[in-house]
Point group: C2
Chain length 601, copies 2
Amino acid sequence: LIIVGTIAIIGATIAIIALSPKCLVWWQASPIYQVYPRSFKDSNMDGGGDLKGIQEKLEYFQYLNIKTVWIAPFYQSSIKDFRYAVDDFRAIDPTFGTMKDFDNLIAVMHDKGLKLVMDLIPNHTSDKHNWFQLSRNRTGKYTDYYIWHNCTGGGTEAATPNNWVSFYGNSSWQYDDIRKQCYFHQFLKEQPDLNIRNPDVQAEIKEIMNFWLAKGVDGFRVDAAKFLLEAEHLRNEPQVNTSQNADTVTSYSELFHDYTTTQVGMHDIVRSFRQTMNEYSREADKYRFMSVESSDGKAIEKTMMYYGNSFIEEANFPYNVYLLDLNKELSGNIIFDTVNSWMRAMPKGKWPNWVVGSPSNPRIASRVGKEYTNVINMLLLTLPGTPVTYYGEELGMTDYTTKINQSEHNFGVHDPSEDPEKTPMQWDANPNAGFTTANETWLPVNEDYTTINVENQKAHPNSTLNLYRELSLLRQNELPIHRGWICLIYNDKDVFAYVREFDGLDTTFMMLLNFGNASRTNVQVAGIELPGQAQIRLSTNFNNNGKSVDFGSIPTEKGEGLVLEYKTNKPVHTKDNFKNNCYVSEKACYLMALNLLYKNC
Amino acid sequence: LIIVGTIAIIGATIAIIALSPKCLVWWQASPIYQVYPRSFKDSNMDGGGDLKGIQEKLEYFQYLNIKTVWIAPFYQSSIKDFRYAVDDFRAIDPTFGTMKDFDNLIAVMHDKGLKLVMDLIPNHTSDKHNWFQLSRNRTGKYTDYYIWHNCTGGGTEAATPNNWVSFYGNSSWQYDDIRKQCYFHQFLKEQPDLNIRNPDVQAEIKEIMNFWLAKGVDGFRVDAAKFLLEAEHLRNEPQVNTSQNADTVTSYSELFHDYTTTQVGMHDIVRSFRQTMNEYSREADKYRFMSVESSDGKAIEKTMMYYGNSFIEEANFPYNVYLLDLNKELSGNIIFDTVNSWMRAMPKGKWPNWVVGSPSNPRIASRVGKEYTNVINMLLLTLPGTPVTYYGEELGMTDYTTKINQSEHNFGVHDPSEDPEKTPMQWDANPNAGFTTANETWLPVNEDYTTINVENQKAHPNSTLNLYRELSLLRQNELPIHRGWICLIYNDKDVFAYVREFDGLDTTFMMLLNFGNASRTNVQVAGIELPGQAQIRLSTNFNNNGKSVDFGSIPTEKGEGLVLEYKTNKPVHTKDNFKNNCYVSEKACYLMALNLLYKNC
Ligand SMILES: [Ca+2]
Ligand SMILES: [Ca+2]
């Protein structure tokens, strides 16, 4: 009998394991918080942030319930701030500390259950990189590490191989007086493009990845992926305006980049990066995450290709930067379009993500208006997929332009137009917002720091910070929000509404978010079956928490967001007329009787 | 003791299995013989070949030691001979017989250990295909099965969406009077291109594959792969000659096909075909083979992409059509270049192949001259990889132009310029060469059939047929030729020479092939270590078989080829100065003491 019992228990265990959907992997389970390291925390009184500074603040991530920290480039870079031009991919820039600081940081992060993601920059180096010095002198294998051609070619512009222009304008070819040839650069002339078709260069990138992966780095964000390959035939790119005089074409937007972006073979190179990371990903908790930068505008299907497909792995996700285009022309309809276009284009079974801020875009509060900061954060943390938060957005930090001396910086070293979103993190009401004990900071501290700072907002339940924290906990604790269906059910000029539901659970959430003006919304017009009322689980206005609302007339203020909770056994995603508005990444079900999550449903 | 012994035996068995390199899969082990079904054997006295005719001749493949038979398209096609315009992918064209005939054929072939490969044509259908009829009438999902655009667009040619031209010249857009739109065709206007970006179309192709794979078809040759996708932006393709008046561009060679060939995503579609075939490939003997048509001229790296890479499966090989370019300008140097350029460009570990004839190229005897037929066959069967033989090339059949009435056929239904290489197979000296007992044949029989025929050549040891057979047996029986290294050691205007060797075996073969005029070759100048003499294992002139030659002065007649055999323990591929001239697909070694083939060497 004991044997039979044991077998039964083993059998049941096997059955449960077989039925259980795997838990979300860490990069799905937690939001990603992007740290701009020069601006986060200064540990050594030089007025600029550093790795030790980040280490001092790890408890803050835990307070926010964030497990994944993406640190913008900290590679050694002779160009002071433009950290995407790297002199040495195996060294820490002294301004951020030492390799020992890095090793300490990652060790402590891992002890605390935090993950560290960094940038991988395979498209180019700085012109100070040793490889470039060897290449311009035609030294051995380095001769072909960059893209060199004789300057005079079939192009219309004298002394360049063709009409290609760089992202920042003017020819993407630069004459080198040492080698007496032109080299190609997609970005600044100080950022020569690597010749990544060269297997030796691919091997170098792989070794760089191995270097950091062996140190325990948990993920890479692959920079500038679409720029990796260029056509070898060097034909002129077609002009957008064919009647423009070819000699006057100097701006990136004046050409179609058919020969310098998204070339055949590029995705296989990105996929080879994934393969390298897989060698370090055998255990789920050690899984190495890969995302790619992507920016294909209206050609969203190009961005989607970075997801790979059902039989080829590529990025876990391409960063979804479409929310970065939001501006003062905000409305419920625009948010609906932005969400829907990603969800609709995303390959089946893949995992979405949403990026609200970045070091190269004005802060959300300044772009759309402070009154919408909270509702944007509510959107970010209640959509399916991984939310990506740029440091300070959880406080509602704003762009600071007053004391930014744009003439101090010369373009090419540092883009002064991007300074306003890089001002120091606002920790408290002390001088320099607690960012540093130095007298000066590398960029001025925003004057609003006396109220907009972590310490102050921690003390106020209705603060942007506290809302972010509540949303992050809600996302973690509620299965429908964590990994359930999303059905887009309603939008108008003011409001966008969607439900999150999970098969087998009757607890359902509806997010009703106001991106316009105060209004009353009747979501019953959507034609879904709803109970009469719902409870406000969370409002951007904490005073409304716990109140009841009537689905026929839900009031929201300008910029107010509501997480409504109610019970139903008639989920929207099972309705035929909504099947084109509902999405799920990986179906799973819940069996209440056994408290069991299972997959074959 | 018995137990210990048993364990030891089991251990040894496991060790041997672990060490053993897997046997070559069938598509590597045997040459591929391409049958043009209309011309192979007529079974029903209508003057055209058919499936039953092929079945009557299966012993012939066994006689040749050939296991893989690729039959050119036999799908139902309303266009009489242009069988790449298919009306129904699930039906046999009545001229070839019935589906029952097909089922019988494949059953008997499998009984005899033969494999059947057929064409998959995913790029287009005929304009008689039901899908096209439904699409031109905008019926449901079929509306988007083809590539439709309004005819007037930004193009320079009136009433076409752009300047794209078809492979056969003139606009690749055709106005359809029913739909009042233009459809796109890469080839004839009777061959509208499928919109394979449409997931429904992809599903159709997959179902067609499933249909034939379930019937037991052993492999597909994917037709026109590079044409599968076209750019959606519809921009004009750039002119080769920018000063040409755009209105006069009508020929395919006048444009660069940057937007209509080899687009991003095409390879992933081909790879998805491989995935479908994998579902039927679980057992090695049931492995389904996939090759693709490729023709990228000097851009050989484009062709190589069809091999996939170390972590993505694609075709087992893209057909290597570079030998089809051979012409009267033959030389040892040209053959060296053709072989070397493929071997050098092929990704590591992949398997080569060599195609000598096809239904769209003059026969080799007519292209390079009859006197070189034998040495070309010797090249084909002693190179590493899979040889591909077009029916009749094993006899030295020649193009027949005398009685071909080119006016009988109109282009678009049938290309008369391709008839000379499609005349009936020459089986014996009976009327119509034994091809049919009908009075007339669909194309005239070549007058040379009284001497160039299977029966006659079987009886003569020094015949082209017998040489082919001997070469095929040699390839099968000798490990170095079957799967060993190749080292290209010598070439001049007359002669090309290479060795085939296998680690652990001292028996080595050197092929010395004359593609020019009679000469004496001193291969010792190559700087490899050789014994003084070698034996002629096989010569295109059987009288020379068994003779000894001195490596310092090897005589060959015009068009003579020699397989030399000798022993050495100093293989060429281990020498530093030859490492760039030696290639192996998958390294394996032989341990003479145990008669053991193993891999970790
Ligand atoms: Ca590049
Ligand atoms: Ca096509």
